[in-house]
Symmetry: C2
């Protein structure tokens, strides 16, 4: 066997110096140290556990404020929020939607739910997210401007939207992307599932496009058990988002009239109650996760063969998941095996969407950088409790 460049035992010790102890350390665990009990108990005591209840409203208000948008509409999860965001952006069957190939499956699945086809593009090293300049070049190559929109001249399909995703909480260069999308007339649906609390140019994420989506899954910085939200500055969009996430029922004292295909995507009040208590603690979670970044950077500094991934410039990342970049892709699986076997939970990046069998026939640009990132990146324990 080849000798590894990376000293796994030294790396293990450096990680343990930060993550502590010799017990099992999960990749990310939630913390319930606030008013979770009292809010959830109030739901049970009053009987308001379901779709109607004051915590849903409060959760939406708190969230809108944190994300710097006028409106938030709570949903069952981030996938549901993305799905509705795409529908609202006007994505129709047989359209193409531009998404990074380096993302979680939810981004691509949500495109599929609309009957549309994901069109995969590359990421950049500095942000791990969609490369706006490269997208601009690619659109110059394949874009065919017609009266009713931008078309992919290679497939004949309409390009309907662009979905940047802020990988592990690190912000995409949204200013550049907004300029590119504006130039090409493409709406942005911002996948901020992983980036609650992150700042780009001093502004929160989720409100840079027409509509944004956040997630409150159990592994996120703030959790509602399972949950998500649609973000927007547009009152009409917010109203429509609420409408179609709640079966599209037309308000009436008793009659049941639904005026379009709707979804059962409302967040139960009991989950929103949990979310309210969690959002109250977000500043503390953020501070501890950013402190963890400093500790990891310091501890891993002297290790040859990898580097700790630091937030992009002009940003304050929420450091949802911390990551190291290995010099050698071939050392990745050994690294994973070594750490996981010793109770330090680590995992690779997602398989690129373009490499999944089920999306193998979807269009894509050159994906060199994303392939490189995916081959070399490993996530390390990231909880705010560390």
């Amino acid at each position: 066997m080849e000798v590894l460049q990376l000293d796994l035992d030294r790396t293990y010790q450096a990680l343990r110096d930060v993550a502590g102890g010799d017990k099992f350390v999960p990749l990310h665990e939630p913390q319930f140290g606030g008013r979770e009990w009292s809010y959830v108990k109030e739901c049970l005591d009053t009987g308001w556990v379901s779709s109607v209840g004051s915590y849903v409203d409060l959760f939406e208000q708190m969230l809108a404020e944190i994300c710097g948008v006028r409106h938030a509409v709570a949903t069952t999860n981030g996938t549901a929020a993305l799905h509705i965001g795409l529908l609202i952006a006007g994505v129709r069957p047989n359209d193409e939607v531009v998404i990074p190939t380096l993302t979680f499956i939810a981004t691509a699945n949500a495109v599929n739910y609309c009957g549309a086809v994901p069109h995969f593009v590359d990421s950049e090293w500095s942000t791990l997210g969609l490369d706006a300049a490269k997208l601009d070049n690619w659109l110059s190559e394949i874009g065919d401007r017609r009266e009713n929109g931008l078309y992919n001249r290679q497939t004949g399909r309409r390009l309907a939207a662009v979905v940047p995703m802020h990988t592990f909480g690190h912000p995409v260069k949204m200013q550049d992307l907004v300029a590119v999308c504006s130039k090409w007339g493409l709406p942005i649906v911002e996948d901020a599932a992983e980036s609650l609390g992150s700042l780009y140019l001093d502004n929160p994420l989720g409100g840079w496009g027409l509509v944004g989506a956040v997630s409150f899954n159990g592994n996120k910085i703030v959790t509602t058990g399972g949950g998500g939200a649609i973000l927007t500055n547009d009152a009409q969009i917010a109203k429509r988002a609420k409408h179609i996430t709640t079966t599209a029922k037309v308000p009436h004292a008793w009659a049941f009239v639904h005026d379009e295909i709707g979804y059962n995507y409302r967040l139960p009040n009991i989950n929103a109650a949990l979310g309210c208590a969690q959002l109250e603690q977000l500043p503390g979670f953020l501070a501890r996760k950013r402190q963890l970044a400093v500790r990891y950077a310091e501890s891993l500094q002297s290790i040859d063969g990898l580097r700790y991934f630091c937030e992009p410039k002009n940003c304050a990342s929420n450091y949802w998941l911390h990551a190291v970049i290995l010099d050698e892709p071939r050392e990745r699986d050994e690294f994973l095996q070594y750490m996981n076997a010793r109770g330090l939970m680590t995992r690779p990046c997602w398989t690129l969407m373009s490499e999944l069998e089920l999306f193998s026939n979807c269009p894509s640009s050159d994906l060199t950088v994303a392939r490189n990132i995916s081959a070399r990146l490993v996530n390390i324990p990231s909880s705010a409790t560390l």
Copy 2:
């Protein structure tokens, strides 16, 4: 104005005699008198609020036992369960799915999510549900048996499945329907959203077809805030249902490979915890709701112009929502206005699916009985707490 046949004040008094007091009485409210708090608190204390956690497994086991099936797979809601049930039954884009026109919108929406078209059929008075004999006749008229399935000769589309729905908990004549569907080679996806705990020929509902769906929305007999489940006796189907409701990720120590389009339909553990405590109380809820039926029937007996709707023969209904049938459709809205204005929450049946603008182009059989039911039925306060 025409003189009403119905004495609204006497009816009001008769309803109040059962529903009690002079306060506002909702149509249906949940009751949390069991171990809800201790189970939910355990989720918070252990940090297991999300998709992994022991209450999801326990909830699925309890549910399977209650519904008399081998497997239950918990989902975010009943709509999600129906959607996956239809996919598993093999419903594909441009197929037709037979559903009663008299149902909640979720049944029709779930068909749409598969890219298929609802085909509306009639109900019968004795059960308020799908009329199996009439369906048989209708299939004789439009059914075109081909090598690869049954087709609608009027539209050219394949008929892919039949979805009976047990209205307000009253069982459809499943023995007859199973015979009809077997004769025509159509799989049954049983919409048991409203009928948890109901019995037909001494057997629970949800397990009569290939796959069944239940709901635990806030207004149901048992609630998880929002939740649902897929029921089946087939281990392979259960495995596939769990797989595609959890993003279709292939099990692996760390790699992210998804082998088909999946959904984020898993029920959070905190909602399952609520569900476990609620299921423990189901026998009590059922007893009280069936007792309520006796009291309503007695109290409304002497009122001219309406009749209280009693469960079908050979059944024990869960009496999820209690209902009265007015002699005169033209008196319905006045009845609703009168009762709601006085704090007795009442509501009509759903607008028939075939009468919604968004489904106006869908195929349908004769719907005479469903129109009659829909015009004359009113739901009255139904909580187990009454």
